[in-house]
């Protein structure tokens, strides 16, 4: 496992281009585009103010930089460095900006969610969409880029509008039976739209592309409801994480619950492997004592290691403050592995642990208990390997073969707050508050073999 040198970064804005060739990162008002392999600077763009949002177009030709404070969006072309585009939302303000899937339109949400402006880079035409709903996830595009679903709010009722992205024509418009729609998301196959209610009510509604209600699911009443939702890449499962600390998985045929994954604070199932991160006392000289007996996978010279804990294991739990909003309970994050085989979840009341579930057997597979709070985790895009960061100077990788904890080299403390995978899954960008570096996985032979087993199986 190799690490690149450390580069400057601000606002955790660092993204690989969708084709994997480039890496864009922001330093204050500058946008730096590097070659993803050599890390040589290819382009350097200067924006008018501090960049607050960065997004690659789907064809990797354009980069969008949003400057929310100024209500500005600046677009840069990689092919034509001299080409520039500046969109000013004026006094309406700007709170969100994103590309349309075709990479030729930009959707800007004005302040107070007054409207969404669709700017085209091809024509002078501007489209407005009124009444967008201010919610957790109100805009979603199908994966093929054909359709846009938008959550709307009119006359105290929730609606969903489905637009055809090619000409921004409204295809369907229907109201949803929700109190306060919190989010919508397309299934990866683009045929089913999941809409869920705000946390006050547990309700998931599934709509077909043509606006028919396929099914509604409610696990319980009178309690805080859904916290997170994720589709499996095959569109076969919909995982719903809720405030009761459980993940419920719906199937795509009957839209009924297949199973329920609880996240108990005490792990007693002997089939679950609990990897516990343990601090290793700094080695004195070259004597490694106690000898490292870490989990599978090679160990680089790191100061922590994973130990396989013996049952029963009680995980560190957080007592949630009942009198404050957004309590730290429930399933705050969940993600399917790209091959659909695994699901990673985090229970916010057990902030140090990541649960990994075997979807084929519908049972828990492993629990990773870190020393610090899990900040983020992300599945590798090609193989089922999970990268986890906890805000410390280490990055953790899990694969079905085992677990590794890797110390990020370099002087000073490199606190990994976020990470993102290269689309090939060969490298990983580790982001700290002011810096970022790349971590190349395939260079390490041991890791390659360790993960290769998994790859052979798939």
């Amino acid at each position: 496992m190799n690490f690149s040198e450390v580069f400057k970064l601000s606002s955790l804005l660092c993204k690989f281009s969708p084709d994997g060739k480039y890496l864009a990162s922001c330093v204050q008002y500058r946008l730096v585009v590097r070659d993803a392999n050599t890390l040589q600077i290819l382009q350097l763009y200067t924006c008018l103010d501090q960049i607050q949002h960065l997004e690659w177009s789907a064809d990797s030709l354009f980069i969008l930089c949003a400057l929310y404070k100024r209500g500005l969006v600046q677009v840069w072309s990689l092919e034509q460095p001299e080409w520039h585009c500046k969109i000013d939302e004026g006094s309406a303000g700007l709170v969100a900006s994103c590309w349309s899937p075709d990479g030729r339109h930009i959707l800007n949400t004005t302040e107070f969610h007054l409207r969404i402006t669709v700017w085209s880079l091809c024509t002078k035409s501007v489209s407005y969409i009124k009444y967008p709903k201010a919610c957790q996830q109100g805009i979603t595009f199908t994966r093929d880029g054909r359709y846009l679903a938008l959550a709307e709010r009119r006359d105290c009722r929730d609606y969903v509008s489905i637009f055809v992205c090619s000409d921004w024509q409204l295809l369907r418009h229907f109201d949803t039976d929700t109190q306060d729609l919190a989010g919508i998301e397309w299934a990866p196959n683009g045929c089913v739209l999941a809409a869920w209610d705000s946390c006050l009510e547990y309700k998931v509604l599934l709509y077909s592309l043509d606006g028919r209600l396929l099914s509604a699911f409610c696990a319980y009443e009178w309690s805080l409801g859904i916290k997170s939702v994720a589709w499996s890449p095959s569109s076969q499962f919909l995982a719903i994480g809720s405030y009761d600390g459980k993940v419920r998985i719906l199937n795509h045929v009957t839209w009924k619950m297949i199973t329920e994954f609880g996240h108990p604070a005490t792990v007693n199932n002997p089939k679950i492997v609990v990897y516990k991160e343990a601090e290793k006392s700094p080695p004195l000289g070259h004597l490694a004592f106690p000898p490292p007996r870490a989990a599978a996978g090679p160990m680089t010279s790191s100061e922590s290691k994973y130990e396989i804990a013996s049952m029963p294991v009680s995980l560190q739990t957080l007592k949630p403050a009942a009198d404050r909003a957004n309590p730290r309970i429930g399933i705050g994050a969940l993600a399917f592995s790209p091959d659909n085989y695994f699901l990673a979840t985090r229970n916010d009341s057990v902030p140090n642990a990541v649960w990994i579930w075997d979807i084929r057997k519908l049972r828990p597979l492993a629990v990773l208990e870190q020393l610090c709070t899990v900040r983020a985790f992300q599945w590798g895009p090609q193989q089922p390997r999970l990268a986890i960061c906890t805000g410390g100077s280490k990055v953790y990788l899990w694969s079905p073969a085992g677990c590794v904890s890797v110390q990020v080299p370099g002087e000073g403390d490199f606190q990994v707050l976020s990470l993102c995978w290269h689309p090939s899954g060969d490298s990983l960008a580790l982001l700290s508050k002011d810096h970022f570096c790349l971590c190349f996985l395939e260079m390490e032979e041991g890791v390659h073999t360790a993960f290769g087993q998994r790859g052979d199986c798939t």
Binding site: H84, C85, S91, R104, S120, C156, Q169, G190, L209, W222
Partner: protein, 614 residues
């Protein structure tokens, strides 16, 4: 504790003791009380006797004494001391032979009395120990009863408390449920209120938004603009198309196309899955058929009709299916057929497996037979071994028997017999326990009496009366149960003979028998006495009529007791009389010896009186 029934009854003797003064008094002059005592006094007390004789008979009153003695003796059934009177006038002469005979008889009687007394004493002791034991048992049981009662009360209390708790909890639950209901109602009302408020707020917000929108957008804000160097081409290279109705329709078409594609894809997947499952089913079916076909001969041989027909069906099915190969069709008929045939086969398989299970268990049961079939030699060896073992065991039993007999032969005196009886009677414990309730009552009375005895002897008579009444009732019941005792008694005797399989037993067993029959022998020795007693007894005291005589005798004695006044008993009940009474009472059930004790009442009576003399 259980030997009361085989020994002589001091109780009865004590009663008969009271009986004799009664009879004698009728004929005796008040002044001649002494003489009676003298008559009955024992030989060992010869010194006293001398003094008494001197007091009784002096030179002056020889004649009177003789006549008095004669009178007394004749009343007791002895021949007259005088020679047969030849004439009325002539003075009757003292027949020395008769006197000597009388004396001798008296001495014999005395000896017998002494013997009887000894017996009675030993029995008293035994009974006393039994009594103690019984009392201990009683106390223990009483304690147990008390503790169990206390326990029961405790448990009841606990039960009550728990019930109380349960009730409280029920109440609590109910209140909690009410509370929950109330809270849910509150939540619901709050929710509606919240929604209402939210809607109101939202409307206001929307109005504001609308206004803001107007303000911001209508101003024709020059700032809202896009500066672009040059427009870029579309990603697909095509030009943007105009929005027309056509595009709308096209969009719809496309959407439905996508949906259709999705459904087709899913259907394909489902079909594939179905095909796979069908394949599995088919394979299973085939395997089942192949598995079951060799079995089908067997059931037919066993004339098991049901399975046979089913299997033939299966065969037909199999033929059909293989012929038509309709697996690829997914119509309902095929499905039904398939599931039905699978079900049938499954049933057959199940029954077959069950049969196999049964066979296995049978094999386990018939293991010996199989062994015989498989290896006769082994079997024979086994039987030989077993026979040897049996022989060995037999020998052991024989030696044990011999040892037992030797032991019995060496110690076949009164003690061993009594011991044996004890053993035998211990078996009766169970029965005794059954009669415990009856006993308890008696015990209570007994305790009361004991207290009264220590307090004053006067109250004894009255108490005794009451007691006797109770005893009568008790005895009645006892006698009702006694028949079994008798049976066992006789069985006991038979047991001895059973043990005496070898010839060397017969001789030692003999001495025990005379002892048992002794009681009958004594009364027969004095026919007058028996005749007197048996006046009221309809049957002669033979062994076969034990029960009857016993009951009569006891009834007789109880009646007699009822007539006794406290004054009469008082002189006899000094010192040892108290304890004597106690023993007799406790051992009253022992009167089962019956005939003997009843008949020998005279002797026991005299013996008791003798004790009072000093």
């Amino acid at each position: 504790m259980g030997d009361w029934m085989t020994v002589t009854d001091p109780g009865l003797s004590s009663e008969s003791k009271t009986l004799s003064p009664y009879t004698s008094e009728t004929k005796m002059s008040p002044s001649s009380l002494y003489s009676q005592q003298v008559l009955c006094s024992s030989i060992p007390l010869s010194k006293n006797m001398h003094s008494y004789f001197s007091a009784f008979c002096t030179e002056e009153n020889i004649e009177q004494s003789i006549s008095y003695l004669d009178q007394e003796l004749t009343t007791f059934g002895f021949p007259s001391l005088y020679e047969e009177s030849k004439g009325k006038e002539t003075k009757r002469e003292l027949n020395i032979v008769a006197v000597l005979n009388c004396m001798n008889e008296l001495l014999v009687l005395q000896r017998k009395n002494l013997l009887a007394q000894e017996n009675v004493e030993t029995q008293n002791l035994k009974l006393g120990s039994d009594m103690d034991h019984l009392q201990n048992c009683y106390a223990k049981l009483k304690e147990q009863l008390e503790t169990s009662r206390r326990e029961m009360i405790g448990l009841q209390e606990r039960d009550r408390q728990l019930q109380c708790k349960n009730r409280n909890l029920h109440q609590l639950l109910k209140t909690e449920k009410d509370e929950v209901q109330k809270l849910q109602n509150i939540i619901a009302s709050r929710a509606t209120q919240y929604n209402h408020d939210m809607k109101r707020k939202e409307r206001e917000y929307n109005k504001l938004k609308e206004r803001l929108h107007q303000l911001v957008m209508n101003k024709k804000d020059k700032k809202i603009a896009m500066e672009v160097l040059n427009y870029v081409g579309r990603a697909d290279g095509k030009r943007g198309s105009w929005r027309t109705g056509k595009t709308e329709a096209r969009n719809e078409d496309e959407m439905y196309k996508i949906l259709l594609n999705d459904y087709e894809y899913r259907q394909k997947q489902i079909l594939m899955e179905n095909a796979e499952l069908k394949k599995v089913l088919q394979q299973m079916k085939k395997e089942m058929i192949s598995l079951l076909s060799p079995q089908k001969q067997k059931p037919r041989e066993r004339a098991d009709d049901s399975t046979g027909t089913v299997i033939s069906d299966v065969e037909e099915d199999a033929g059909e299916l293989s012929r038509e190969s309709i697996w690829d069709l997914s119509c309902e008929t095929v499905r039904e057929q398939l599931t039905n045939s699978i079900r049938k086969q499954w049933r057959i398989l199940k029954s077959h497996v069950e049969k196999l299970d049964n066979q296995v268990s049978k094999v386990h049961l018939e293991g010996f037979n199989d062994e015989d079939v498989i290896s006769r030699q082994d079997h024979e060896q086994e039987t030989e071994k077993l026979e040897l073992e049996i022989q060995h065991c037999k020998e052991m039993i024989k030696t044990q028997q011999q040892l037992l007999q030797q032991q019995l032969a060496t110690a076949c005196d009164d003690d061993t017999t009594s011991l044996l009886r004890d053993c035998y009677l211990l078996e009766e414990k169970e029965r005794l326990k059954e009669e415990w309730s009856l006993f308890k009552e008696q015990k209570k009375n007994f305790e009361k009496e004991r207290r009264s005895f220590t307090e004053a002897a006067i109250r004894l008579g009255l108490e005794r009366k009451a007691f006797e009444e109770e005893r009568a009732s008790w005895l009645k019941q006892q006698f009702l149960n006694m028949t079994t005792f008798d049976h066992q008694n006789s069985e006991n005797v038979k047991l001895f003979s059973a043990f005496s399989g070898s010839s060397d037993w017969d001789t030692p067993s003999l001495p025990s028998r005379p002892r048992q029959k002794k009681p009958h022998g004594v009364p027969s020795g004095s026919p007058v006495c028996t005749s007197k007693l048996t006046k009221s007894l309809p049957a002669s005291p033979s062994t076969s009529d034990f029960c009857q005589t016993r009951s009569c005798a006891s009834e007789h004695s109880s009646i007699n007791v009822l007539n006794i006044t406290p004054e009469e008993t008082k002189p006899n009940q000094v010192g040892r009389g108290c304890t004597n009474q106690k023993w007799s009472m406790s051992s009253r059930p022992g009167s089962q010896e019956g005939c003997y004790s009843g008949c020998s009442s005279a002797y026991t009576n005299s013996h008791v009186e003798k004790d009072d003399l000093p």
